[in-house]
């Protein structure tokens, strides 16, 4: 064979000493260092020169311990290694070493005693890269574990098929499914039956878009409640395994509740606003029909809008819950100068009577008309006029609030005031209140002033103290 011929040209087969020398010299990736029993270097191969930076002639006879770091030397590591090698036949040397230029590398090797007892041989490789990679991996895994087990989200690892490979302790404690039970598609047991289909289908989309995203209900084992979660997963940036995905499930139960409530509130607000606009429109048209001039229209319409504005303010303040009758009356009277502060001109008396918020608007409009009329023609215009407003609760099984508006000392005009105004106020009291509130009303123009009685439903939820 040609190779045999070549190897044999001009030479005899190598002796075992030569063979050893050849191996040592050609093992350039390995540092092979022989030392006497005091640690002085007696042999230094090419690999040792490359790894440690010392040339053979500059280190021969020198201190072999120089390859250790100063800390290890101070701690007696070289001596311990030699003692161990002498006692056991070998000592592992896995540690950071130092080169001639002071840089360090992770050396992995063995120290063995020479058979003739003349010293030791050390064989060592540079495994810095592997060491660094392992450390990095360990750090990343520790970081992942720390993150995955500390955040409130339920964390999992999965295949792109949706098959779970891992679930965080939060997942296990929230769902009550053990890690083993959750593996594969076992985790679907925690998903609400109605949400299983969309949960599974989202994995098909995820493989196309590169992101898994679904909102579904997961059952909390503690109380059996299904709580809304948003579950998101993405491929982990794992180059070794592109099929490895990481995901989280976040509890969004409260948020969804708030969103629902907000939707209802917005619809309610829109409803109220549109109704209010419709009401303003109808008041404008009604005022227009009964006005003989634009000036008259402006004054009447502004007054009615003002009353509507005041009652909106009260309704907003009590958040559209029950309203105190006294407040409705007081606010409207105050807007009509309240008798200009003349003592005893206006009196108000009655217990706390709570009215349903739905009554407030039309009642205020009615009181506004009574007050405007009194300011313009009646008790609040004439010096001798008096206005007594009283209220009480009447009736047993279906109690009603009864409001009495009693003007006295008024010189009544022949035809009982302005026909247009009376028409509007009268219509509100005699028709609108019965139609809208099923109220009973009685409006009379007595010889000494206006008398009006309004009996209307009270708020059942919050009984008054009268």
């Amino acid at each position: 064979m040609p190779e045999k011929k070549n190897r044999g040209i001009g030479r005899d087969p190598p002796t075992s000493d030569e063979l050893l020398r050849l191996v040592v010299e050609s093992a350039t990736d390995f540092a092979i260092i022989a030392m006497d029993d005091g640690g002085k270097v007696t042999s230094w191969n090419i690999g040792a020169g490359r790894l440690l930076g010392y040339a053979e002639d500059e280190i021969l006879g020198g201190d072999g311990d120089i390859v250790f770091t100063p800390e290890d030397r101070a701690a007696g590591a070289p001596e311990r290694e030699r003692l161990e090698a002498a006692a056991r036949g070998r000592a592992e040397d896995e540690r950071w070493h130092q080169r001639k230029d002071g840089s360090r590398f992770w050396g992995s090797g063995l120290l063995m005693p020479l058979a003739d007892g003349s010293g030791f041989v050390k064989i060592m490789r540079d495994l810095t890269e592997r060491r660094t990679a392992q450390e990095g991996l360990r750090e990343r895994e520790e970081l992942f574990r720390l993150l995955a087990t500390s955040i409130p989200q339920l964390v999992f690892r999965t295949r792109a098929s949706g098959e779970r490979t891992w679930g965080s302790p939060q997942w296990v404690s929230f769902t009550g499914l053990s890690l083993e039970e959750s593996l594969g598609f076992g985790w679907l047991d925690a998903v609400h039956p109605d949400d299983k289909e969309v949960t599974a289908a989202a994995w098909t989309t995820a493989r196309e878009t590169g992101e898994y995203r679904v909102e579904h209900r997961l059952q909390r084992v503690a109380d059996g409640e299904y709580r809304w979660h948003q579950t998101v997963a993405k491929p982990a940036a794992n180059l070794d395994d592109p099929g490895d995905w990481v995901g989280t499930s976040t509890d969004i139960h409260e948020m969804r509740g708030l969103q629902e409530r907000q939707k209802v509130l917005l619809a309610e607000l829109q409803h109220r606003t549109r109704n209010l606009l419709a009401l303003v429109q109808s008041i404008a048209r009604k005022t227009l029909r009964s006005s003989s001039s634009l000036d008259e229209f402006a004054a009447e319409f502004e007054g009615r809008l003002g009353a509507l504005g005041r009652v909106q303010g009260i309704l907003a303040r009590v958040d559209h819950r029950a309203i105190d009758l006294r407040e409705l009356v007081e606010v409207e009277l105050k807007a009509h100068e309240n008798g200009n502060g003349v003592p005893g001109k206006v009196t108000m008396e009655g217990p706390t009577v709570m009215l349903p918020p739905t009554s407030a608007q039309v009642l205020t409009l009615a009181i506004h008309e009574l007050a405007t009329n009194a300011v313009k023609y009646g008790a609040l215009k004439q010096p001798s006029g008096r206005l007594a407003i009283t209220w009480r609760i009447e009736g047993g099984t279906e109690p009603r609030a009864v409001l009495d508006w009693h003007e006295s000392g008024v010189q009544m005009p022949d035809r009982g005031g302005h026909p247009g105004r009376r028409g509007y106020g009268r219509e509100l009291i005699e028709r609108a209140l019965p139609y809208q509130l099923k109220a009973e009303t009685d409006l009379r123009f007595g010889p000494d002033g206006v008398h009006c009685r309004i009996a209307t439903a009270i708020e059942r939820e919050e009984p008054g103290d009268g």
Partner: protein, 122 residues
């Protein structure tokens, strides 16, 4: 108002269901001005069903959806049974309307009375 408009609803009998008096009264007057004869107005389901039970001829209806604590839908059901066309007048968005009435036309408040009249004259 132009002459064509005053007679747009001439001879048509229109049921008005609306719980706010001033809005109901305004709506009734406006439709009357366009020639309609008004049934009601009434502000409750009970009142509307009582009007229907009298068996008078009805050509069309305008229904406010929210009648205080109740919704107008039983009246809508009765009108469908009688074959009477109707529209909703409401401040609510469409999602409050059950699917069965999804094809019923909705007028948002405040109502454009001419557009309403055109719908009721068909």
């Amino acid at each position: 108002m132009a002459e064509g408009e005053t007679s747009a609803l001439s001879g048509r009998r229109v049921l008005v269901v609306e719980d706010d008096y001033l809005i109901a009264d305004d709506l009734a007057r406006s439709l009357e001005q366009l020639g309609a004869t008004i049934l009601g107005p009434t502000g409750s389901v009970k009142g509307a069903l009582a009007l229907l039970a009298r068996g008078e001829a009805i050509d069309a209806a305008v229904l406010d959806i929210n009648l205080g604590a109740e919704k107008v839908f039983p009246v809508a059901d009765a009108l469908i049974k009688e074959g009477v066309p109707f529209v909703f007048a409401t401040g609510y968005d469409h999602w409050i309307v059950p699917d069965t009435f999804s094809r019923v036309r909705r007028f948002e408040k405040p109502i454009d009375i001419r557009a309403l009249a055109r719908a009721l004259s068909k």
